[in-house]
Amino acid sequence: MTTMFSEFTLRNLRFTRGKLSKLARREANWGLLFLSPWIIGFFLWKFLPMIASLVFSFTSFNLLHREDVQWAGLENYIRFFGDPLAGVAIKVSLTFALISLPIGIIQPILMAALLNQKSLRWKRIFTTLFYMPKIVPMVSVVYIWQGVLNARTGWVNIALESIGIPGPDWINTVAWIYPALVLIGLWGVGDMMLYTLATMQGIPTELYEAARVDGAGAFATFWHITIPMITPIIFYNLVLSSIGILMYFLVPYVLKGPNGDPGNATWFYGMYLYKEAFAYSDMGMGATMAWILFLFAIVVTIILFSTQKYWVFYAAEEV
């Protein structure tokens, strides 16, 4: 079993051009007709906006005074890199990525490993229940956790106090807001858990039997067989989460509003971009920030893809 990303191969990049027979021409035309919604959509909603966004980033385009659009050259970029608030936004986003990415990678593996245990009863019910938080609307999720993490009346602090630990003010202090956001994030891994579980279930049993014959214990089996066999899905998760975390801002936006409270701790890159583009209507600056993010995301993706050959194990290619 492999992921969507295994479609990224050199073989797929090969473009064969040749004269098509009349029949083949007909087939290709039908095919293109069926693909046309996506091809048109790709240009309309992805490719052209991408280019337009690059062009905007070199202008002073602001929706509030749209008559006066000037070519600004690199001015937006210079302003961005000289802006202390931009520095804060980058620092906040990277710090939070470092905290939450490892958890977002490990948590679905642990949950799937538990659900994949042969001796666990009521597996389907457990799987459904573990998945369930994923389908709760984001605003409800934030409000529920806001209540649970309330310093005085929330269940987390009531539980902590019952064992003699004074609970912190999770959502109003700089030191505890990231742990609070991580806790909220625990509810968002349902999809990754299901992918991981399906991949684990697809591991050939001969591998486990061979390990048992060699006298491997439960932990060694997990580490030397299960983990390598699920590396494609770990990789998939890593790529998607790394890009997703760069755009993270809706949860802190609903939880704390658009100003980065407490004390700039939630001044995420996405929050800054949202304010520049949609609160101040500065489309030039918004586009500049979007492209800086995009270039960074490309670099991250290339780095991740280039590490693939050292640790990601695609079983299908070996056979």
Partner: protein
């Protein structure tokens, strides 16, 4: 090392060990899942609490109200009253005095009123469990739920139709036709899942603004008629599992590609189609960012995700109302999920991994 000779005890103890392992593992999973889902408990319990409980630090966790006792036509407050013999009684207060008050024991009326020395203000009230279901009707009215539901349903259902039509067509094109450069097109499709949304959102917003779509439902519906990577991938995966011989047989009978799609492919793909329809419906129900951009000034047109947020901003210090509306907001997705969880979860697996 002891050598076991009695085979039956070994067998029994082995089965016992297997059972114990299974039981303790399941118990462990039960503990984990109840912790993991406990915030739902908090939400439910808080949603049916009375307003008076919110401010009181001594209020119990379960929704309750302060107990009263009807004595000769009077509603008397019930307190926990400690007496000199070390017992604590649940007595109703009859006459309040600064240093001395009169109580009556609701379980023993014949004993008559009792004098108690002490300050009644220092006593704790007795709580009796009593959920306040009216919170939901208040939230339902305050949120204007009928309007929010109507808006959300229109946006979600039309978007789902668009997603289904376009993704089925595109997936059919990718799975069944030899097209020059198809692999490159497919890689371009997959790459769009790693294209950050922010890159396209600014110019798209500007264009929607130009053509007067801001403050309408169109930006939330029309783009979904142009297919998306996840659902095309899912349907393509599914279509590829349908044997090609079936279409070839139909083709020999003179069926057009359109006819093959409707009479061969679609009837075999009902679960995948249901899954895609549900994914879009749920996604649209939960989407917050796009309605925030395009509908923040149009109260009449807002879907539930935005409606709840505005409502709660007004009820900052009323957790019971906030939780009641959170519950109303998640009810529809949760019900749909539980009705069709098998198809839903199989579909999720199909979007992410190839078999």
């Amino acid at each position: 090392m002891a050598i076991r000779t009695d085979r039956s005890t070994t067998l029994l103890s082995n089965r016992m060990r297997v059972f114990l392992f299974s039981a303790s593992l399941t118990l462990f999973a039960l503990i984990i899942i109840s912790t993991y889902l406990s915030p739902f408990g908090y939400m439910t319990v808080t949603a049916i609490k009375d307003r008076s409980m919110i401010a009181d630090p001594n209020a119990p966790i379960l929704p309750s109200k302060e107990a009263t006792f009807n004595y000769e036509g009077q509603e008397l407050a019930v307190y926990l009253v400690p007496t000199e013999d070390g017992k604590v009684h649940e007595w109703a207060i009859l006459k309040k005095g600064r240093e001395e008050s009169t109580f009556i024991d609701p379980t023993n009326l014949e004993a008559g009123p009792t004098e108690w020395t002490g300050r009644w203000r220092t006593l704790e009230r007795v709580w009796s469990v009593s959920p306040v279901w009216e919170n939901f009707s208040e939230a339902w009215k305050g949120l204007n739920m009928p309007r929010l539901l109507r808006n959300t349903l229109v946006i979600a259902i039309t978007g789902s139709i668009g997603t289904l039509i376009s993704c089925i067509a595109v997936a059919y094109g990718f799975s069944r036709f030899r097209i020059p450069g198809k692999n490159i097109l497919f890689m371009a499709l997959i790459s769009t899942i790693i294209l950050p949304e922010f890159v396209t959102i600014v110019p798209t917003y500007v264009v929607f603004e130009r053509i007067g779509w801001i403050g309408t439902w169109l930006p939330l519906i029309i783009p979904h008629f142009f297919a998306n990577a996840y659902n095309v991938f899912l349907l393509r995966q599914f279509f590829m599992t349908i044997p090609k011989e079936l279409d070839e047989a139909a083709m020999i009978d003179g069926a057009s590609p359109m006819r093959i799609l409707f009479s061969v492919i679609l009837p075999q793909s009902i679960p995948a189609i249901v899954a895609v329809g549900m994914f879009h419906f749920m996604w649209s129900w939960n989407d917050f960012f796009q309605p925030l951009l395009y509908l923040s000034t149009e109260r009449e047109l807002q879907p539930i995700s935005i409606g709840i947020q505005l409502y709660n901003a007004r009820y900052f210090a009323q957790p019971h109302m906030i939780q009641a509306s959170s519950l109303l907001g998640l009810l529809v997705p949760i019900i749909i999920f539980f009705l069709a969880q098998r198809i839903f979860m199989q579909g999720i697996v199909f979007t992410g991994v190839e078999k």
